[in-house]
Symmetry: C2
């Protein structure tokens, strides 16, 4: 076991994009687990849009990270020392932790991960810890897709979006994705089996949506908010559903972000707009994981990792999420 | 039977408030019912916020009234001539009709009304035809109130709002209403049993909501949209519900109306915002009417009519809705 640890700590609230002075990265002692705790070493750090929310003091779904605290993250690691009866050295765990090489496993925040047959730890963590259940419950529980319906998803080449579109196809729906480059759009259609993809950076989204969704939109799985939400609101069919998973277009905003102008469509088309956080479904994760693992083994679901090396690169890598540079699940391999 | 009829027809789409030149009112022949039709005489004309939507060509939930057509309305009348086996002269009918003394009953658009014991035709029409079922299904089906929760309703001194608050009380909730005058607020609290009322014209709505809802807001029944929606979004509890019944604050708008700035609260608080139109519940009206009639007879529900005389006064009376001059159900007595 090494003698030193490295910890990212939140130093100030970001204004706009995450600046270099928002977090510090410095050596610290390795903490000692008390009775009922365990110590684990970080193997993979998941980078997620919500990281930017936790850094800020905007209204949010759990307390923001306090200034001076270690940065919160979705983590995967290996237990190295345990004073907890349920965890032993060598156990692979995943859940909510911090951006640090070594850290204490907080009771209830981490669970053992797998093993899942021939699925690697990285894939199991990337797909099963947050992304897969988010896509699964958001689309199926809130969206309630019926075969033949049209499902549109934004940030479709992102981790959650790419899974949403594939589950839509599995359920017999037409899947249409919005993404920010021609390469991403080709990947969605050619590799993942989306019926159509729209490059929102080069196409007129409103008219492209009309072409791609000749029968209108029954479910819009919203990862981004903003102008794309407004364009989708305009195309929604009667009794359409908008599971609201993220609003990444506005997390970096410095000024007040306008609300959707087409909000009245909620009334006129009797839409259901529903926000959700996957943590609310924690007790139903096994259901989602079983389904996702089955589709993966049957070759019906593809999962793409966008993996970078080194905890020291966490911030520069995280920024890719907000500029749309990643394709698939953004992650850091630490050890 | 008289020889003449009077008909309001839509001449142009309103821009802003409903101008004098938007509709015409002129004598016309009394129509003759064909086989399978009946002719009825208008007794009461319901004036509803949605009338302004139907006049416009904004995105809406059914086709707008075509230019030149008789203005659509929720009507109550008495059959005077029938070529339809199910309707006989003297039958009282209510449903969708037009602003005219005499008109043809369109199959499927009108149903027989009552009789309902000692409830007058006017009250039965006012409460059971649209208002009561709207409040009933919007609050109970979409809001799903639990005893002890806090229900906020806007346009609370209006027809639907006043019923929503009373049903909330019947269900054991805290009921808080927003209305536009001290007299209306007093009526809500002193006569209808609301726990609190907020005068949105004189009070700071955000801080008044905090005072009136110390445990936050579980259900916001939205009749108005706009700034009040934004203020309520900010106070919503986790898993809160926003049945969206109307957006009257923006029906008269000449320019594009901004969307709600606090839209991200839908995500952060995992809210469910759901639009509805009571017509979608047509097959469940009997359930609502039975419950409403029961509460009325038990003295648990009060219903207030704001009745005016004369079909010729339809437009000047309708305008009261958008300036907030009415209290209770706005209606015209015709014959």
């Amino acid at each position: 076991m090494p003698e030193s640890n490295r910890v990212w700590r939140l130093r100030k609230r970001p204004v706009g994009a995450i600046g270099d002075d928002v977090l510090s990265f410095a050596p610290e002692p390795i903490p000692e687990p008390a009775v009922g705790q365990f110590l684990f070493r970080l193997n993979y750090l998941s980078l997620d849009p919500t990281n930017r929310i936790w850094m800020s003091d905007m209204d949010q779904y759990m307390p923001p990270v306090a200034l001076g605290d270690a940065m919160r993250g979705v983590v995967c690691g290996t237990v190295v020392k345990s004073n907890h009866a349920d965890f032993a050295p060598g156990d692979v765990v995943s859940g909510l932790g911090v951006w640090a090489d070594y850290q204490i496993g907080a009771p209830g925040m981490l669970n053992k991960l797998g093993p899942f047959g021939n699925v690697s730890v990285a894939d199991a963590f990337g797909l099963f810890a947050v992304v897969g259940p988010t896509a699964y419950f958001g689309l199926l529980d809130l969206g309630v897709p019926k075969a033949g319906e049209t499902v549109v998803v934004s940030a479709a080449a992102g981790a959650v979006g790419s899974i949403v579109g594939q589950i839509a196809k599995i359920k017999g729906c037409r899947a249409v994705g919005l993404a920010g480059s021609a390469a991403k759009c080709q990947w969605l259609v050619n590799d993942l089996g989306f019926d159509a993809a729209i490059n929102y950076k080069t196409e007129d989204v409103a008219s492209a949506l009309k072409r791609a969704c000749p029968k209108g939109v029954d479910i819009y799985f919203d990862n981004v908010g903003g102008d794309i939400l407004d364009a989708c609101l305009k195309q929604m069919n009667l009794q359409g559903r908008i599971p609201t998973c993220g609003l990444i277009s506005q997390y970096n905003a410095k000024d007040i972000v306008p609300g959707p102008i087409n909000y009245p469509m909620i009334l006129m088309q009797r839409l259901k707009v529903q926000g959700f956080i996957v943590l609310d479904y924690a007790n139903r994760y096994p259901e989602a994981i079983a389904a996702l693992a089955g589709w993966l083994q049957q070759g019906k679901l593809k999962f793409r990792m966008d993996m970078y090396e080194g905890l020291e690169n966490a911030v520069i890598t995280l920024r890719k999420l907000y500029t749309g540079e990643n394709t698939g699940k953004l992650m850091i391999h630490v050890a």
